[in-house]
Symmetry: C2
Subunit: 390 residues, 2 copies
């Protein structure tokens, strides 16, 4: 039977089984995802901070609706996401990539319709250019100053004199309002134990709060302090002085997060459904139809204790991981699974399906336009869209 879902635009959602789907495609375990969402909501409540989830992982209205039922206070990574969520009524949207003036017209137009998109910046020249562009567009913008807590990427260190300079320039602009300081402790991904993560979370908290205090000591209003990454959010002992927490990948989790120790493999809600398309008996290999495009070329687990190649194989119906079975190599549309001793080809007949748990859920999901929802078995209950691209 051809699936009604075999093409993205081909009709209404009806009941299906995974075996009806054309592979490769994304499978999402609803119950696991909901537990992940609840876990982070409980964390934020327990730490007495607001949660500003990062929607760059899910890029889905339905999932965002589960995370943020009131459609407020979210983070996005592209203008495409900003527009997609704003159109659906989401507001209080932090666009968490350093702003450049070229992107302001689109943002201004969305904000005039109530999107409440806020910008991040870290350079005096950017403040001047954005302020001028905002004035030209007759729009007022809320901005955050990005703080660098661990040398990961961009942002100003708390004690950099430019921090006060940037904040003062924001204050002096008629077009800009300082919302606060924000940081992302990206180097938490380099931690190798939960103890290290807890220390890193404290570093993130302490340095970002310090930046806010320095600004306040200069008489500059800095109402908000926003920190976060999934690993630090789940290990922080205290978020004293912080007002909000940002995190994204926890909604799905992935093998990299399991390697960090902040989740278990059984908590991974996302996988790629694939079909066994060839048996290469002489080389003891299964060939599947999920390759580098469907899985992504992210090799994030390469440096961890468990290197899962391009993903860990799981049973298609139950979603249970099959320890020891990983995607060893990935060409564009071919995945290669080396069969270790103890496994037999008969366990994986030609035409049978498998799921592949991803190294990095954000990257893997981005190749796909849809999620197929299941809940602990192989019955497909829904198909939800994603907004990819820029």
């Amino acid at each position: 039977m051809q699936s009604l879902w075999s093409r993205p635009d081909s009709g209404p959602a009806v009941k299906h089984q995974l075996s009806d789907l054309l592979t490769p495609c994304l499978v999402l375990e609803r119950g696991i995802m909901k537990a992940n969402i609840q876990r982070m909501a409980d964390r934020a409540a327990g730490l007495d901070v607001a949660l500003r989830p990062h929607l760059k992982t899910c890029k889905s209205l339905e999932i965002a609706g589960l995370i943020v039922p009131d459609r407020s206070r979210v983070t996005v990574s592209t203008l495409q996401e900003a527009e997609y969520f704003a159109r659906a009524g989401f507001s209080d949207i932090m666009y968490a990539v350093s702003i450049v003036p070229q992107k302001l017209q689109k943002i201004a137009s969305m904000n005039k319709q109530g999107a409440g998109i806020q910008l991040i910046l870290d350079h005096p020249e950017t403040v001047s250019a954005v302020s001028q562009a905002a004035a030209n567009l007759a729009v007022k913008l809320d901005v955050w100053i990005e703080i660098d807590v661990d040398g990961h990427r961009a942002g100003l260190e708390p004690d950099d004199p430019l921090l006060v300079d940037v904040a003062q320039r924001v204050q002096e602009s008629d077009s800009l309002t300082l919302k606060g300081v924000m940081t992302h402790a990206g180097e938490s991904y380099e931690c190798r134990s939960v103890e290290e993560l807890e220390q890193h979370a404290e570093l993130e908290r302490r340095r970002c709060v310090r930046a806010a205090k320095i600004l306040r000591s200069k008489g500059i209003g800095c109402p908000q302090v926003s920190v976060g990454s999934t690993p630090t959010a789940l290990t922080a002992a205290s978020l004293d002085g912080v007002t909000e927490l940002r995190a994204g990948v926890y909604v799905f989790f992935d093998l990299f997060q399991a390697g960090l120790g902040v989740c278990e493999v059984k908590d991974i809600a996302l996988s790629v459904l694939t079909t066994v398309i060839s048996h290469k008996v002489s080389h003891r290999r299964l060939i599947v139809d999920a390759g580098g495009l469907a899985l992504s070329k992210d090799r994030g687990t390469a440096g961890q204790v468990h290197d899962y190649g391009y993903g860990l194989v799981a049973d298609a119906k139950s979603g249970q991981a099959i320890p020891g079975l990983v995607v060893t190599a990935a060409n564009q549309e071919h995945g290669i699974i080396d069969l270790p001793s103890g496994f037999e080809f008969e366990q994986f007949p030609l035409g049978s399906q498998l799921r592949i748990l991803p190294n990095h859920a954000c990257m893997t999901a981005a190749a796909h336009n849809h999620y197929y929802l299941v809940n602990g078995d192989d019955r497909v209950t829904d198909r939800w869209d994603r907004c990819n691209g820029w």
Copy 2:
């Protein structure tokens, strides 16, 4: 000025400059691409074989039209591509991923409308299953047997007794017709010199032709012998006994192909346009808005003499590479370019644009829905679509 192209579905193509485009996006150099296309056409003609270009790299009607003006004899890697090109009148389409019966209904439906999609297989069980499914769908199908010349992926070795078994089962099926044997010398990507590539091309030719001869010696008709990969296609000294050549990435080329020695960096037609969004002076880093999603996480050049990180930086207007400047790290929407000594931040102002030449053009292009066409300068002449997904 907001670009009319700032959103994918926003109106007609008008004249623009690169500086009007929202980044990240794909830039395609028309003149370089046309020269690459001509080079492979000349190779095939010089080797006296037909060319069956692989459209998995470009996934574009306009580009495919330049490569195959008569819209016949092409290769695809997904059913999505098959459908996209078939709808536009392309025919004689090889779907070069091992077939499973689940995908036959869609193929049958396209073939009933004249697509002429041919399948590849390498296993007796697959022949039986596909033959049965084809009979149920009342459709006749042309199939190729995949040959393994170098242990790269799937396929049968020429001397494997299963080869004759598979071919005889095809011959015995009322639904299937054997078109020939085909191979892809994927291990050519491991070669480290043009001399090694030439030897590998000869291996590919010799072993695939041998498979055809074995079948013919058993009285099995095997009219076609199809080989190819961009590196072997460009280095083969002879294709004696071969009837057609397949290759895809040559249309754009990329840093990996340059590292193999089959093109130069100046022959790379594809790049990602990006904007400098932050200066991290303390770490001597530029931050740009092309990250792991826009560039892909493919690290194919990691094992080559020149490791280009996540891509080589080029001047935005001219497209000329800037030797020594590479994308050192890539988060989802952030690229980090370490500035070696000799470079100054003033050369890369905030808000200025750069192009990034890709490690692997097929993977990089797949994150984007459009190409923006230029020709040696920064004037954008066209926007062409891609068909991504499955």
